[in-house]
Subunit: 313 residues, 2 copies
Amino acid sequence: MARIVHVAAAQMGPIAKSETRKDTVKRLIAMMREAKARGAELVVFTEMALTTFFPRWLIEDQDELDSYYEPSMPGPVTQPLFDEAKKLGVGFYLGYAELATEAGKKHRYNTSILVDRSANIVGKYRKVHLPGHAEPQEGRTHQHLEKRYFEPGNLGFPVWRAFGGVMGMCICNDRRWPETYRVMGLQGVEMVMLGYNTPFAHTLHADIDGLTSFHNHLSMQAGAYQNSTWVIGTAKCGTEEGSAMLGQSAIIAPSGEVIAQAVSLGDEVITARCDLDLGKRYRETIFNFAKHREPAAYKLIVERKGAIAPPET
Amino acid sequence: MARIVHVAAAQMGPIAKSETRKDTVKRLIAMMREAKARGAELVVFTEMALTTFFPRWLIEDQDELDSYYEPSMPGPVTQPLFDEAKKLGVGFYLGYAELATEAGKKHRYNTSILVDRSANIVGKYRKVHLPGHAEPQEGRTHQHLEKRYFEPGNLGFPVWRAFGGVMGMCICNDRRWPETYRVMGLQGVEMVMLGYNTPFAHTLHADIDGLTSFHNHLSMQAGAYQNSTWVIGTAKCGTEEGSAMLGQSAIIAPSGEVIAQAVSLGDEVITARCDLDLGKRYRETIFNFAKHREPAAYKLIVERKGAIAPPET
């Protein structure tokens, strides 16, 4: 019997710096309603879906910086999203900047949560692979200061039983790293949800940046195929405060095929009925990990962080 | 200054069971000459390039089986290939079935070697990811008994300084596993060479097998991009002893782009001038491993061989 999860990727156009969270949440709710009307039971929103992508600026005033983080989830402004989800009986993935207090100390993470159809938070993930820099870089019209504003996630890559399957989460840059999918694949993940904010001018090398769209799908397609899992990738996109960002939100099957894709650079809902059993035949044949993987040959992956080339001769 | 390696992928059409190694070596030499005439200094031949793909049969006679393996390299029949390489000043990658004697015992590996422009063997690799089965499967017109005829490689994924760069090797099914490229990427690999014999009917699931071409390139393109390396993939292809095999040999840049591809299902040489420095800007930005990888979050990759899903609730 097919195990169907009817999922929506709710791509988001630009969020202006001046836009209030209240108005942003209205946009999320509008997309959630559209998704529900089209039959979806799970809506994947994007990374940091509540505010503009603030790591593009050096913000030295601590209060101003903190205004971008959520000290509680749900909070007063996000409660309506949870209420609507409960009313509609729809679950969701939501990315946001998290201000956590752990052991009496403040910590900042780039976080996502998985919320079930009764509006209960059933999973939390904190972004492991922070891109960009800790210090502003010369020659950039837009900075990318995630390494300054966040700590690397301290929750690993967990998976959760929800929506009738094994669900996993990651965020943006995580999707380029095969380790991300593999750690979840080794826990039997069947659907990986992720949001991203990807400016085209991310490396400042025109040859690389010109391939941003290709690399976006390549990474997610390979992750899906090599781990027999669905991947749902949802963009924040369009020109936000002068920074042009990639759209191309996609629903990708365990075959690696893109089976639904956004075509705009604005708020746009795409949906697909995802059969979680589709990955099964891959997992039982070419990607039967128990039969074919050889972990003894992989040790360097955990023993070494950076690359070390053999000495020049 | 650009560091160019002018490389050829020497795709090979079918080798009939009745074809002698002497005739096969002549075909390899003809392609080596063509590659040299077009400017190449390094020729990548395919996996098990000296015989038909014998794991498609259950062979119970030990002498018959052993006749497919090379007890020495070069041996009497392969020496002319080495002689020609030396004469032309061309290096090569060659795949073959290896009969090794280690600690007084016979061992069988699916092996490749890297030979320099003076015909010296500078590197040896033994296939880590053996696909298929140890016992014949019912319902198959062609078996895939690599797990019966070979032991998993015991040399890991080493790299070598040669041809002005850092060179790595893998074989066929290895290319589907991101760990393969990553272990070499962590050693600064700049060019990964691989040969493959990939029958279309490899899983017997029509939906998967119908995507064989897509999965072939997807795996190699992701491996190239995610590790900032060139990948040279060379097929044995066409209909060999009734088994239809994939062609699509490709030279793939560190961007993940296929920059040269075979169009036939026969002996065909494709070439490209590969600048080993092309990967540098990727390694220094998005794929700066030392800055961005988080090995503490990857432990499961080496701690666990098979997937273990969380208990059903």
